[in-house]
């Protein structure tokens, strides 16, 4: 060792760094890829959302509605059921794509084509997705929720709305739920930021 070269023993630092890496790796749950950025309103509520068995209905600023449910087996089975209902046959590849995909924002009519696209193309399409239809005449959201609840009885329903989402859309979604006898749901909110 040449004289005067300042050497620092990095071992403790590296130990610490790896400890932290391990900690974050194990606790990490990747931020899910949301098709629409949602700025949730704040509330004083301090109930944390449960980790599993969540059915999320996302309402974007632009009144598009997305549907998501966790659990890959549930999702795969759900697609099959929905296919039966709407008379669409899905290949195993499409089912797999669906199982690992994030929120659904395509009407049933276009879902098959959407699943056949390459992942990059799907991602590029996200800003133009029409959302799940929730009109009273043509309410696919109701079917999604119904089938998902039949498959997983423990599902809790969470509504994640953007703070600037129009109330009529929220009302439509809420009424859809009430029509399906879902009377209890969670509204996802953020933390209250300072004085309101």
């Amino acid at each position: 060792m040449s004289k005067g070269t300042p050497t620092i023993d990095m071992t403790p630092m590296v130990d610490l760094a790896f400890l932290l890496v391990t900690f974050f790796m194990l606790t990490a749950t990747a931020i899910p890829d949301e098709p629409v950025t949602v700025d949730t309103p704040s509330s004083i509520s301090e109930i944390k959302i449960p980790e599993n068995n969540i059915l999320t209905i996302t309402i974007g600023k632009d009144s598009r509605v997305f549907f998501n449910v966790d659990g890959q087996p549930t999702r795969a089975a759900l697609l099959g059921k929905m296919g039966e209902m709407y008379g669409v046959q899905f290949t195993p590849e499409e089912t797999h794509t669906f199982a690992i995909m994030s929120s659904i924002g395509v009407p049933m009519g276009g879902l098959k084509q959407f699943l056949d696209l390459k992942p990059e193309e799907r991602k590029a399409m996200q800003p133009q997705l029409p959302g799940v239809p929730v009109d009273s005449a043509h309410n696919e959201l109701a079917d999604w929720v119904l089938q998902a609840r039949l498959l997983n009885r423990q599902l809790r329903i969470a509504i994640k709305g953007d703070r600037d989402a129009e109330y009529p859309v929220v009302k439509k979604v809420v009424n859809t739920m009430i029509d399906r006898k879902v009377n209890r749901f969670n509204l996802i909110t953020g933390m209250e930021k300072g004085g309101s």
């Binding site: 050497t7 949730t40 004083i44 509520s45 944390k48 959302i49 009377n183 749901f185």
Partner: protein, 172 residues
Amino acid sequence: MAEIQGGGDDKKKKGGKVRSKKSSTRIDMTPMVDLAFLLLTFFVMTTTLNKPQTMEITMPEKPKKDDPEPPKVNERDVLTIVLGENDKVYWYTGITDPKIELTNFSATGIRKVLQTKKNEIPKLVVLIKPSDKSKYKNMVDILDEMNIGVIQRYAMVDITPTDEELIKDSQL
């Protein structure tokens, strides 16, 4: 640790044999550290530390055909809150010929109204009527106010044309 060898080196050089400088077992850890910190930064950034909160609401069931008539509520006990556009809050008590007033979501706004009304009327029933121009945020805020003010009985109902006219006529 690797540092210990520093002391030993000098002595060995004095002994006749010129040994090739014992290669130190020290490994340059810099790249590893770089990587470790890169990963650390990545995980710190992607972790969602604060899980989102939720607000649980239970909506009333749809009335069935053979349901008994719901108990009548004295109209003097009713406080109606209408959520208007641009975060406006209109409120009035009673149903016949109400006097409509305007307030906002601040701590001195609707919260104060709810507090005074709660003290005035023991059997207070709050009707929340979000208008079509209100935002989702307004709905969450008003539900929040219900929790803050510990209002036991409240309901979210659709806005009626009468309410809309009231607001229009009030010019507020």
